[in-house]
Symmetry: C2
Subunit: 355 residues, 2 copies
Amino acid sequence: MEKRIAILPGDGVGKEVSRGAVTILQAVAELFNHKFHFTYGEIGGAAIDEFGTPLPEHTLDLCKGSDAVLLGAVGGPKWDVMPGHIRPEKGLLKIRKELGLYANVRPVQYYSSISGISPLRKEVVEGADMVVVRELTGGLYFGKPSERSFKKGEASVVDTLYYQKNEMERVIRYAFELAAMRKGKVTSVDKANVLESSRMWRETAEEVAKDFPAVQLEHMLVDNAAMQLIKNPRQFDVLVTENMFGDILSDEASVLTGSLGMLPSASVSLTGPYLYEPIHGSAPDIAGMNAANPIAMILSAAMMLRLSFGLEEEAEAIENAVQQVLDAGSRTRDIAVFGTPFLTTEGMVEEIKAA
Amino acid sequence: MEKRIAILPGDGVGKEVSRGAVTILQAVAELFNHKFHFTYGEIGGAAIDEFGTPLPEHTLDLCKGSDAVLLGAVGGPKWDVMPGHIRPEKGLLKIRKELGLYANVRPVQYYSSISGISPLRKEVVEGADMVVVRELTGGLYFGKPSERSFKKGEASVVDTLYYQKNEMERVIRYAFELAAMRKGKVTSVDKANVLESSRMWRETAEEVAKDFPAVQLEHMLVDNAAMQLIKNPRQFDVLVTENMFGDILSDEASVLTGSLGMLPSASVSLTGPYLYEPIHGSAPDIAGMNAANPIAMILSAAMMLRLSFGLEEEAEAIENAVQQVLDAGSRTRDIAVFGTPFLTTEGMVEEIKAA
Ligand SMILES: CC(C)[C@H](C(=O)O)[C@@H](O)C(=O)O
Ligand SMILES: CC(C)[C@H](C(=O)O)[C@@H](O)C(=O)O
């Protein structure tokens, strides 16, 4: 198989972990006889520094002409002082919109080998295995107006939570398709007791559910979901929600197992290419120190092989290698029990490659 | 001291726990020689059943004519089928707006005596002691438009996140005043990398901070806050945020210590009366079974004595009684370790009264 992969390392540890993922993908290509063409593009702060904009046209063109996109991370204190429209995050929001990445998919998995670092009690979190599906191109993130005004001596501000019903429908449908291949349960999260948009969301979920008689649909209010994720994370299979709720809940979910540095994500569109990125950010405090955990990025590459290229065996080879290395006790700093030895980013990549 | 207290039991366990709070307040009145006049009013489902509306005018008048309001809980499956405008929650939203309850104040405290029931590891949560201050009368909850439309064959919906700057200012100021009397730190939570309203919120926090040189101000993005609450709850002193973020984060925070059934809250206004209520809901599954934990409601009454009436000694008497009863091992079902004996609602009230 021959595939073009756009690599957007971005900022901070994004650069290091991207290198790690490419190393592993090259090993996979050799082993399974594929040809992966890697082309590099700038995004975020790196793009601002070089081109004055967080998502240059040529980066976008590169992505559109590729079969899949691997993104490291964007942002850092250096660019926090920039005016709103040239902040690194704008590059991320724009690429989501331009590539039509309507669903962000985040598997959250409990690794018994690193159970010691979860903030939750083992009895509570053991066996948790869920996927958070977040709507990614609508809601408060993109609604207009989003502006201030000044009337009668009074300053005020408005942001707009706007959705088309078909934007709700496609991401909810995605969640049901996923649940049908997993444990068969969708938890749709909203705030239907307050928001009109949530009432439409709930109705849409009910409508989509009719097409999936084998999948159980459950509605949960967002405040309750924030509690249930901690009290009983095992109850979830696929959780689906709108953009802003999803931003909050997917980050909350990602710390339950203590494996934040190990969680991959995929953002999918109707036509492709899909975009894959680790859940963690650019971690400016450890950037360039060869200390970041490359596993989230490497598992994102595995997701790419599976979802974009249909290379199930290859994806599993990577996932098994990661599992094996963890079982053997290898750790980067973030997942090492305090005071025990740990590997560098490159050291971890080498071990996974060897496995 | 002579005070008029409006009691709004509401629905479900609200009725039972309100009774408990009144019993304790009567004991306090006798012991300390005060006169509390209790007048009862309907709200929520109970009010819908009797008067066809979740907040009848006479209930509102009763509240306005009282020195403080004690609310049980509202809602239940029976009324979930009602059209939007006569749902029990509307009563809650309306009373907040009508009484001008701009800040909801929720202390979250770790009780070592019930440490066994927290979903978090003891090392993570031990010693956590924070107050979540949530803006309560603005944002997505009340912004207009909040409606659907249908154009060119396409259904869409909009909700509006609207704030006046002075609405932000007063609740942030409240948080600083609180922090000045506590550990001296305010964590202001927003989504300033995406929302214009959050950027105004952040600026307002900076402005208010100038009046409190001894209080440290820290900004945190809402997704990160959802993570930090679990990873390291001890870092927080006073957390302040807008209405919707506050709904989610205050519920998340309330389960960290495992003491959800024990957490009180106060909602304050510029002029009074303030409203006090437990954090938990109406718990329809155990309503009428004499099984609910009355402690959250009783501690809400203690908050009332302190904040509305300035009765510090009396408030502490209640809080100490609760502590003593817990230290002695008394538990209701929700805070009992599985398989160990527990008290009824009334049994717990009696023990606290005796203490
Ligand atoms: C950087 C920010 C705009 C972004 C978001 O809120 O979507 C991030 O938090 C994420 O979740 O990918
Ligand atoms: C019942 C509901 C409208 C309410 C809210 O969202 O404010 C509740 O969740 C709360 O937090 O008091």
